[in-house]
């Protein structure tokens, strides 16, 4: 059972994917990296997919960051705020972050802020190592998200993400936060 360490804001970082499927393991690898970074105030989870019971976990947070591999797109990674979506365009052995947020609202009347960090992967067959290019993207995404999380923890509010995005975008380091769709989706 995950334990929150310190901090006033409730933050869940959830890595999705199968480590035995090469770049599909980007999400769990990210969680391993964050465990080593020992950033206080985070709940860290990794699983193959989001499932219905995660609505309960989502409902207990103020901020959720879901990390998953992308199968297409030109950017190393994209970072996008999730809107709830109640449509049926998903399978239910796993749920999309959009559908899970919608379920969280319907079942628990809670509305955590949910962001998706999609990291571009290239190889998805059996194997335990990330591809070299995915590893590069992983490092860039790690550097980015750790800064974001520190900014949020420091301010105590998820709104710090937008401030952080604005400040990096003004310095020419925009990461897709204002894009309409996430690459590969």
């Amino acid at each position: 059972m995950s334990k929150r360490e310190t901090g006033d804001i409730k933050i869940l970082v959830f890595g999705l994917g199968n480590p035995a499927r090469q770049d599909d393991g980007l999400g769990p690898a990210f969680i391993s990296r964050l465990e080593k970074a020992k950033i206080p105030g985070l709940i860290l989870e990794a699983d193959y997919q989001l499932l219905v019971e995660d609505a309960l976990l989502f409902s207990e947070q103020q901020l959720v960051v879901v990390i998953d591999a992308l199968k297409s797109g030109k950017k190393p990674f994209v970072f996008k705020k999730i809107k709830p979506a109640g449509e049926a365009s998903f399978t239910t052995h796993h749920l999309s972050p959009e559908a899970l947020l919608y379920l969280t609202q319907v079942l628990y009347e809670k509305n955590p802020e949910v962001w998706l960090l999609g990291i571009r992967g290239y190889r998805f067959s059996l194997g335990e190592k990330l591809s070299p290019k995915a590893q590069e993207n992983f490092e860039a995404a790690c550097e980015f998200l750790v800064k974001v999380l520190r900014a949020v923890i420091s301010s105590g509010s998820p709104s710090a993400i937008i401030d952080f995005q604005s400040s990096t975008s003004s310095r020419g380091k925009k990461h897709g936060a204002k894009e309409k769709g996430i690459a590969g989706s």
Binding site: M1, L16, G17, N18, P19, A20, R21, D23, D24, E45, A46, D47, Y48, Q49, L51, V52, E53, A55, L56, D68, A69, L70, K71, S72, G86, E87, A88, S89, F90, T91, T92, H93, H94, L95, A99, Y102, L103, V106, L107, G118, G121, F124, S125, L126, I182, G184, S185
Partner: protein, 482 residues
């Protein structure tokens, strides 16, 4: 004009399946097949790995039932470690059982509340925008919440026994590496409702009542849809009781006559053959005694309740008696009754979890035994979707030299094809167009067995539903996607 209908992949099942239905020039079904389009390759993947890594490594086969692979792999490695079935310490065996029944609880809850109930509550022809878990949450909120909590409870049992949410290391060759602390045990026994086992048992019972009510209202459909006679295979306890963790292999035919009479699964190759067909990566297992043509069988909840003599927990046994009375004590071959059987198993799992939590052995400290190393072992377990075989040989350097896995979905391979054919004959033959209702019926028939096809790769944007319609010359006539 002859047509070919392709449904790829099947939604609301794990992985990538494809259904092709070939129509002849008169529009009648000439062939209906359920394909698996991805080669697993996992048996080769584990070759060369040290045998003690297997219980952890094989969890990566499947994102839906990793605990089943964990325990089947561990049972095979027990034998290789020289600790055969029945020789584990009481604490080790009971912790493993607790883990497994926790998984059975969460997996069956997911299937009924979130995969099957939309079809049953809203009807096969309901708007697909409603006929899903979102619809259940909006219009049957209490049911959806029960499903969430039942799953959550099962997940917490798995975490407490396996050590982690996924890739747990609880079971190791010859035992387990942790037992429960008294605090962990009391959490499950004494937490305020709904997070205690008594509430979970009550809710499992309520779920059966939901099904019974739906059955009363839709008896014709639930009794006849995709129903066909078959053989049935599962583990049973030596005395014939339902047992998900260990026992002997029993197979019965559609009338209940025994085909395999409680045989030792270490000898499974004497009894089970695997046929390769060129159009599918998934093999077709069969009972050698009956041959390839007649020897195919079903596994899973409906098969388990057809093979066992009784259920060793009081509330589930009462429900079992009602269930069996419906078919006059004969095997139940009604495909959609698998939901009924699954819910009875859900109740049984909850009752057994309570028994185990109240057993002082689960907080014991004798966790592992050692024995004389062997070079070969078979581990068998009843996974939520059915019988799961893990068979390994190791070399003198303790590396895996051979692995053969027959997963539940493979055991049900022919049953999927039979179900698809049934639906195609009834709902697609001689129809002018492919409707959402027709397609969903194909999915409903497959979903009843809750197939789990992939190795859990699922990167974003990978799971649309595609429907392609071809004529006899292979020309695409129509294509639908959702």
């Amino acid at each position: 004009m002859a047509r070919k209908i392709t449904i790829e992949p099947v939604t609301r099942v794990e992985g990538h399946g494809k259904v092709t239905i070939h129509l002849d020039d008169e529009g009648r079904v000439s062939q209906a097949r359920f394909h698996v389009v991805e080669f697993r390759g996992f048996e080769r993947f584990v070759q060369g790995r040290p045998y003690w890594e297997i219980p952890v490594l094989v969890q990566r086969l499947c994102g839906i039932c990793p605990v089943s692979h964990h325990l089947a792999g561990a049972k095979a490695m027990d034998i290789i470690a020289g600790v055969p079935p029945g020789k584990l310490t009481p604490t080790a065996e009971k912790i493993r059982r607790l883990m497994h029944y926790g998984q059975m609880l969460q997996s069956h809850a997911l299937h009924f509340f979130h995969l099957a109930s939309p079809d049953l509550l809203f009807g096969f022809d309901a708007d697909p925008a409603v006929r899903n878990i979102i619809g259940v949450a909006k219009f049957h909120r209490e049911l959806a919440v029960h499903g969430v909590i039942l799953r959550k409870f099962g997940q917490e049992i798995i975490k407490a026994t396996a050590g982690k949410r996924i890739h747990g290391t609880g079971a190791i060759p010859g035992g387990v590496n942790k037992s429960l602390t008294p605090e962990e045990r009391d959490y499950f026994l004494k937490s305020p409702a709904p997070y205690n086992i008594d509430t979970i048992i009550d809710w499992a019972q309520e779920a059966i009542e939901v099904f019974k009510k739906l059955h009363q209202e839709n008896k014709d459909v639930l009794d006849s849809f995709a129903a066909f006679p078959s053989n049935h295979l599962s583990l049973v306890r030596k005395d014939g009781a339902l047992d998900f963790y260990h026992g002997v292999l029993r197979a019965v035919d559609a009338e209940g006559r025994k085909i395999l009479n409680d045989v030792d699964y270490q000898d499974y190759l004497k009894y089970i053959g695997e046929e390769v067909r060129p159009w599918s990566y998934m093999k077709f297992p069969y009972l050698k005694k009956l041959g390839k043509e007649k020897g195919w069988y079903r596994v899973g909840p409906i098969a388990r309740l057809n093979t066992c003599d009784y259920i060793p927990s009081p509330r589930a046994q009462r429900e079992f008696e009602i269930y069996k009375a419906y078919t006059g004590g004969k095997p139940n071959n009604m495909t959609l009754h698998s939901h009924w059987a699954r819910l009875i198993e859900l109740l049984h799992a909850a009752e057994i979890i309570k028994d185990l939590l109240n057993d002082q052995d689960i907080t014991g400290s004798k966790l592992v035994k050692k024995g004389k190393k062997q070079l070969e072992g078979v581990g068998l377990i009843e996974a939520p979707r059915g019988t799961l075989f893990h068979h390994y040989r190791i070399n003198k350097d303790d590396q895996v030299a051979m692995a053969n896995l027959i997963v539940s979905t493979t055991n049900n391979n022919e049953a999927y094809n039979q179900a698809v054919r049934w639906v195609a004959d009834k709902y697609i033959s001689e129809k002018p167009e492919i409707t959402e209702g027709m397609l969903n019926r194909v999915e409903v028939a497959i979903r009843a067995y809750d197939p789990c096809l992939s190795c859990a790769t699922h990167a974003l944007g990978q799971m649309p539903l595609e429907v392609d319609l071809y004529d006899a010359r292979g020309q695409l006539l129509d294509s639908k996607r959702k």
